[in-house]
Subunit: 349 residues, 2 copies
DNA sequence: GTTAGCACTCCCCTTTAATGAGTGCTAACA
DNA sequence: TGTTAGCACTCATTAAAGGGGAGTGCTAAC
């Protein structure tokens, strides 16, 4: 059987209507609210065909039809009309220069949740793929060194390192120069064992203690907890009856709390959606088990210089895909612009 | 009417039973499962009295009795038998020295949630009341300074400061010495305007730029976001039918997500529970509106040196108070011991 | 003061019936 | 051949009715 133009129109009408109401939609509704000028009986015939083809299904005999996953998929792939959305608060918010990445991301998540009425999550750019900008050791007291690592994008990581023997100021100074000359501009992933060995050699006479410190620094850099995820609007799931029953709600909320569970999702989104950067997972398509009754839309964002992360929106399968995709697209551009502005500001100042 | 010993015993039995089952408890149950050797009829008479006195109430005629807030209050104040609870995983967890406060607190929240099956929250010690241990400026690039502030307990705060003019290394060095000699050992709250003025004066010739930097540092220290709260086990609320309906669950989850809403609670707990450090809020007693159907137990903890924060446990009013209070007490001591151990380690090493 | 007994209340569950939205199918129509 | 009107049928949903049971309050006897 072929999916002709009329069938497509009917399918689209079914989906549009279902997205709005959340109720199974019947033939009479379609017949009245489309410009097809067909009787409900004709629509019924067509709907029977669409059901046979797997695009829609009936919750039970004598109910209207609801879109199947396959139906949603077709809609998202070929029928969606992305709306360029104004994200109102976003503009104001992003204009003020945020020096703390954490604050920025939390705010994006929140604004997005308020705008879409879905649950949102956002992953911080992976520090491991960003370049080291600055690295510094300093003495806190006799037995402790503070290692500060600044990464591109002004992300700062700290570690307190225990040392066994008191180091002289001069030694620390030398170490700082040594570390900076060797490691500056590299990404964390690029730091190799050979490099560390080389540094140890150059450290020369102090080597016994110093090599210990170098090891500690290297380890500290590597060990950086790397998967920071911020979420917002979790309780929006209660807006959608199909997700709000205890079983599902509990599982979902748990997933949002145990953020590691979300890691996989964002990871996949990160590698998958290369082309447009936006990826839609419908129902069982999502890699996270607890979201099998949800749809998830993810968008990769870039803050320049390899600082890439992922934004995700989680809602019911009858999500307003047009709006969500549009909004994400807007955010993408705005984040991008934000970075550009920063870049320029830094250069022209 | 007087609350004699027998009435107390019956009240206690009602509460104990209700805590376990969550069902209204009838006179026959009490008659059978207590050592009072009284018939159900007698119990009924006593229960009628207890109801009149306001300690228990009936959901409807011909149902058993459930404790009122007043009943719970009496129980908590006079009848509770704190169980010294082994917090199993806790021991192992805390033994390994955690240098990142954040990780430690998150873990405490999680373990506590798993142990009690309630929702938990924990506030980080207020940085403003802790002493500055170490302060350092360093140049990231021509236009940006990095300010690192180490507070007692090895809590580290960072800020990137923009500067208008390039500073010489020597100037930065001097600034560091200046800042450290003046501010070291003070709490953030203690830093006064006079002190800042004094520093500016000592800075001497450089004052034009330098005073700007000093202002920026002072502001950065003060502006530190100060209310960090970690939560865990939010979805435990679904275990208790009286909290699990959509309306309430949604509100509660929202409260846990918008952590500022919790601030008030922990703040009050911080000042209130001075004596034992443990405070119980039953129902409407809690300062947070959305928790009016919950009970909240808070405990102040101390990590030494003024590093004080609050732990909270949120559950249904029929919470296992004995267990919760016991567990919190255990955690209190363990956190205390942890700090002592650290102190000793630092001294004896 | 305690207890047995009994009538009474009221929640909860199941059954039954009515309603109504929506379908599939057939036959007639253009 | 495609479209439509008509009709019997299905089934979720809701309301009403009825039985069962847990628990009470009260009275009278011990």
């Amino acid at each position: 059987m072929e999916l002709d133009e009329r069938k497509k129109k009917i399918l689209q009408a079914v989906i549009r209507n279902y997205l709005e109401t959340g109720e199974p939609v019947g033939s009479r509704t379609i017949s009245r609210y489309t410009d097809l000028n067909l009787s409900s009986a004709t629509i019924r015939n067509e709907m029977a065909d669409l059901e046979e083809m797997g695009y829609i299904l009936q919750p039970h005999t004598s109910a209207g039809r609801i879109p199947s996953d396959k139906g949603y998929r077709l809609y998202v792939d070929t029928m969606m009309e992305e709306k360029e959305r104004e994200v109102i608060e976003m503009k104001d918010m992003l204009v003020q220069r945020q020096d703390k990445m954490e604050t920025l991301l939390k705010q994006v998540a929140r604004v997005l949740a308020q705008n879409t009425q879905y649950a949102t999550l956002i992953s911080a750019p992976q520090a491991k793929r960003s370049k080291l900008k600055f690295l510094q050791l300093s003495r806190v007291d006799e037995r402790q060194l503070l290692a500060v690592i600044v990464i591109e994008g002004n992300v700062i990581k700290n570690n307190i390192l225990p040392v066994e023997e008191d180091l002289e100021d001069e030694t620390i100074l030398k170490l700082n120069i040594l570390l900076n000359t060797h490691l500056n501009g590299l990404t964390i992933d690029e730091i190799s064992l050979g490099m560390i060995a080389a540094m140890k050699q150059q450290a020369g006479i102090h080597s016994s203690i110093v090599s210990g410190v170098i090891d500690a620094v290297a380890e500290a850099i590597r060990a950086e907890e790397d998967l920071e995820i911020y979420t917002s609007g979790t309780n929006n799931i209660f807006r959608y009856p199909e997700l709000a029953d205890q079983q599902k709600a509990s599982e979902l909320i748990n997933t949002f709390e145990e953020k590691q569970l979300l890691g996989e999702l964002l990871q996949e989104a990160y590698t998958e959606g290369e082309n447009t950067g936006i990826q839609v997972y419908i129902g069982a398509e999502t890699p996270v088990q607890s979201m099998k009754d949800c749809s998830v839309v993810t968008a990769a964002y870039e803050l320049g210089g390899g600082m890439r992360g992922t934004i995700g929106i989680v809602g019911p399968k009858r999500m307003d895909y047009d709006k969500v995709v549009g909004t994400l697209r807007t955010i993408q551009t705005q984040l991008d612009e934000l970075y550009r502005k920063d870049e320029q500001a830094e250069r022209t100042e």
